[in-house]
Amino acid sequence: MKDEDKPLLTIRGLHTLFHTLDGTVNAVDGVDLDVYLGETLGLVGESGCGKSVTALSILQLLRCPPAEIQGRILFKGINLLDLGREGIRKVRGNSISMIFQEPMTSLNPVLTIGEQIAEAIVLHQGADRREAWERAVEMLQMVQIPEPRARARDYPHKLSGGMRQRAMIAMALSCHPQLLLADEPSTALDVTIQAQIMNLVVLLKKEFDTSIVLITHNLGLIAEMASRVVVMYAGKVVEEAPVQDLFKEPLHPYTQGLLGSIPWIGRKLKTGRRQLQEIPGVVPSPLEMPKGCRFHPRCPRVMDICCEQEPPFVRLAEHRRVSCWLEAE
């Protein structure tokens, strides 16, 4: 990691609310995080924890209303939330781009792969159509799609899931973004294809020197890809740590539970136990968030104060913080 002390993206007090008929949902509730130049930040949590909404809020890809985004999202010192509709369009796909989980639904089925990639190049780089098309073919070659010139003329349905994900990565990287938001980029793919895609992401990150926010629930991927990890639960950050520390010494009971509950190859042999550690209960409904610490109804080490008061963030070192009363004592 270089330029250690210079965040590319700084998020402070991000609140993303959805006004629904049943009430207001605080999908993201006061998230602070930094992304540094050239690093891969892992954003982990289970479904409904707000990790995807955080990413969507950065690029304002949410329909407002019903959504409402509050807080500050500083990208190279500029608050993205002040840019307005036209302003943010200049950022999307240009200096910040995003790849989505479902390559099937996030590509336009009535445009060829080449047209979709060229579109961003024409829009952001002012290239003419022919030039943009050539660049699109180049990008497809870069993401290791065989016969890129022919594939550029194909529609998305003709490509396999892995190939579609490559096309989406080509599109995301076509304008050489400084920040790539990867939202579960390999979850829908088979493991051998996932390995291909992640290999490609690592390669391209080096090539373009892009910072990555990797959003996933797969802790294995996090361990391999990320240098720093932010763990979210029920709309809040509960822990942040360098990747080694998080796996060696998780501090928040939720992080501990998450690590204890995943089976990994060799675990049974190593621990001699067939039972996995469980986190009892379920993620709370966003309309009925528990009082105090949001994890307290599922926490094995719950104390009286946890049910009453929200725990403060305890900063233990640089990039090491946890929101838990156990550490606040």
Partner: protein, 319 residues
């Protein structure tokens, strides 16, 4: 004798085209699969999407009619049974599905869903059914007070528990678990895996555990079979398979699984390309076009599943 024995099972789906629906080819979803499942054993069946693992599970139960092969369950030949006989056998051979959202009838209450198999198979009084349902709900970790609720009122994990309770209703000997935890969040996945392990110990169940997640399969299984393009390419005890994989596909598959330990930097074998279409599987070894160790023989002759010692079976010309 094994509880379930599957021999040379094949399922070829015809592809029809045109006004006359003439068959223009076959998708060889399962193309000669053989394995056994012992009593109280968990056999993991793993492979990537399209390898035919789900089709194997469904063909065994005849939810899909297999094209050919032999399936013996509890000393009965399943493929020779008529509808009524098959219905009776299914009381002891049950299935749990992947998607807890679409595999439960949204218009039936939980009580009705779990009671349905009991009502269909046994002549018992209403009170007995009610007691049995309450017992089953408790057994899988649901509150019996929720008996009259509907599936949509439950979370994904709880719905999977309902599916398990339904499968257990008739005290089966074996359950085919088709991706039972892949739709669930990590913390919920652990709850369901633990439940399955606990139920197996208490009720002496056998599981055919079908999944794509190699870590989950390793965790729950005694033996594991690896499938690729309609074939079993390797089968061994879990320790043996994961520590000493012999087939190049198994090796690549295992190396592709990310390990949740940042200190482990493992050598990854990246397979080139995608799985070929089962409509036109490659001749010879189905894996040869992606295999780094292929020889001339691999393109011509299909390798058979051979025992290389200690019950470790592998279908490969190499090594």
């Amino acid at each position: 004798m094994a509880l379930l024995e599957v021999r040379n099972l094949k399922k070829h789906f015809p592809i029809k085209k045109g006004v006359l629906s003439s068959t223009i080819g076959h998708v060889k979803a399962v193309d000669g699969v053989s394995f056994t499942l012992e009593r109280r054993e968990t056999l993991g069946l793993v492979g990537e999407s399209g390898c035919g693992k789900t089709t194997v599970g469904r063909s065994v139960l005849r939810l899909i009619e297999p094209t050919s092969g032999q399936v013996t369950f509890n000393e009965q030949d399943l493929l020779g049974l008529d509808r009524e006989e098959l219905r009776r056998v299914r009381a002891s051979l049950q299935i749990i599905f992947q998607d807890p959202f679409s595999s439960l009838d949204p218009r039936m209450s939980v009580g009705k869903i779990i009671a349905e198999p009991i009502r269909n198979h046994l002549k018992v009084s209403r009170a007995e059914i009610r007691d049995r349902v309450a017992y089953l709900m408790e057994k899988v970790g649901l509150h019996p007070e929720q008996i009259s609720r509907y599936p949509h009122e439950f979370s994904g994990g709880q719905r999977q528990r309902i599916g398990i309770a339904r499968a257990l209703a008739l005290n089966p000997m074996a359950i085919i678990c088709d991706e039972p935890v892949s739709a669930l969040d990590v913390s919920i996945q652990a709850q369901v895996i633990n439940l399955l392990i606990q139920l197996q110990e208490e009720m002496n169940l056998s599981y055919l555990f079908i999944a794509h997640d190699l870590s989950v399969v390793e965790h729950i299984s005694n033996r594991v079979a690896v499938m690729y393009l309609g074939h079993i390419v390797e089968l061994a005890t879990d320790d043996e398979l994961y520590r000493n994989p012999l087939h190049p596909y198994t090796k690549a598959l295992l190396s592709a699984v990310p390990v949740p330990d940042p200190d482990v930097r493992k050598q990854r074998i990246i397979l080139e390309g995608d799985v070929p279409s089962p409509l036109n599987p490659p001749p010879g070894c189905v894996f040869h076009n992606r295999c780094a160790f292929r020889k001339k023989m691999c393109m011509e002759e299909k390798p058979s599943l051979k025992d290389v010692g200690g019950g470790h079976l592998v279908a490969c010309h190499g090594g």
